[in-house]
């Protein structure tokens, strides 16, 4: 029972955090157009997860080969950049959105973000969902007790839904500014982890190239430092969810550093612009 509970819950956490935060944002702005797009994206994500699960089971050599690797890489890259874009977009429009929405012109701006939201929700669900489907499909054949297995999976799903509801409740308990800041940071952490995972996939593909030059091996594998005395790499840990690696290489943390630099620059620029706007008399 516990393995199936654990797998379902763990694999849903990342998708739930992303979707839950976007959902809370849209809900606070009372933007029904975006809410619908998030739900639609979630549904599309389930379809994507199902399709990928079928690919693992019936087109396994494609999935395990370079075709599947590049496909997953592209999914993670797009999701990670979408998160960055969402957070920046939200930073720009979030504070004034409710007021602007009363004007017809600004409603169009809100609509523009709909497709991105839908795609991000779909990718978040689709990525981890496919492995959950395959794991469950694989385990169900050999579970010692089928009923315990089903209970575990259902409890896992229930745990995931409770997490989602808690997030919604939490979003209303704290002041909007604080919730936005905290959730933007959580999203960026998840987005950074996705970027690290994507560059790992690229590195894995490059490493399988027989004549790989020395300098590339160095970039991919040479650890910058080793913090495994503090925290080891472990699946399902919170540290892993935000892209922590005990002995990261340049290929892992250079993209991550650039990602955070981008996020930081946008925040500083928009922050100062916002400050100027507020001090100028209208």
């Amino acid at each position: 029972m516990w393995p199936s509970f654990f797998i379902v819950w763990r694999e849903s956490v990342e998708a739930l955090l992303i979707i839950g935060i976007l959902y809370a944002w849209a809900k606070r702005e009372q933007n029904t157009h975006q809410l619908n797009k998030i739900w639609l994206g979630g549904l599309l994500g389930l379809l994507l997860a199902g399709a990928l699960a079928l690919a693992i089971l019936y087109a396994g050599s494609w999935y395990a080969g370079s075709g599947g690797e590049w496909f997953l890489t592209a999914m993670m890259l797009v999701a990670s950049l979408l998160i960055l874009q969402m957070v920046i977009w939200m930073q720009r429009h979030g504070r004034t959105m409710k007021r602007d929405l009363e004007q017809a012109a600004a409603a169009k701006v809100a609509k523009g973000s709909g497709f991105g939201l839908m795609l991000l929700a779909a990718l978040a669900v689709g990525r981890e969902g496919s492995e959950t489907v395959v794991f469950l499909a694989g385990t169900i054949q050999q579970a010692a007790s089928l009923s315990a297995f089903i209970i575990g999976a259902v409890l896992g799903l229930a745990g995931a839904i409770i997490t989602f509801l808690l997030l919604q409740a939490f979003s209303h308990m704290v002041p909007w500014q604080w919730f936005f800041r905290l959730s933007a940071i959580i999203l960026l952490l998840l987005g950074g982890a996705l970027l690290v995972a994507a560059s790992d996939k690229v590195a894995g593909q490059l490493a399988s190239w027989e004549e790989i030059p020395e300098w590339l091996i160095y970039i991919i594998y040479e650890p910058l430092w080793d913090s495994s005395w503090l925290l080891v790499d472990a699946r399902g840990s919170w540290a892993g969810l935000i892209g922590y690696h005990a002995a990261p290489s340049l290929s892992q943390y250079l993209p991550l550093a650039l990602y955070w630099l981008c996020a930081g620059l946008f925040f500083i620029r928009d922050g100062s612009r916002m400050g100027r706007k507020q001090t100028q008399p209208d």
Binding site: P3, I56, L57, Y58, A59, G60, S61, Y63, A64, G65, E131, V134, F135, A137, G138, T139, Q141, Q142, D200, A203, G204, A207, S208, E210, E211, I212, P213, W215, I217, I220, Y221, S228, V232, D233, A234, R235, G240, H245, A246, A247
Partner: protein
């Protein structure tokens, strides 16, 4: 312009590396049958790249995994794939089948030369 120079020099690096003769990587073949690895461990010399070819001979999917070594490979039933391992320091490296955690897993023992 600077980008063009950069890209050209990068391409030259790649090409010069590509034409350099290289011996094929040593290959180790293993199978996973519903969580059971065969062989359960291999011994390799330290400081050399090598390749592990994994075939899933079971009826259920498998995920060959060691997170700190950044190996994560999902294999459907009957599917074969490979991973390339970078030069390792002497020691023991443990792999698991993420979909069959009740099984002992797989180990690479790296011995100093």
């Amino acid at each position: 312009m600077r980008q063009i120079i950069f890209l050209t020099s990068l391409l030259c690096c790649i090409l010069s590396a590509a034409v350099a003769p290289a011996a094929p990587l040593p290959n180790y073949e293993i199978t996973i049958t519903d969580g059971k690895f065969d062989p359960e461990k291999i011994e390799v010399p330290a400081g050399q790249r090598f390749k592990i070819t994994i075939k899933n001979t079971g009826t259920s999917p498998a995920e060959f995994e060691n997170l700190s070594m950044r190996v994560e490979k999902v294999l459907g039933p009957g599917v074969q794939s490979f991973v390339v391992m970078h030069p390792l320091k002497p020691g023991s490296y443990k792999f698991i089948d993420e979909f069959h955690l009740d099984q002992p897993g797989f180990e690479i023992i790296v011995s100093a030369q």
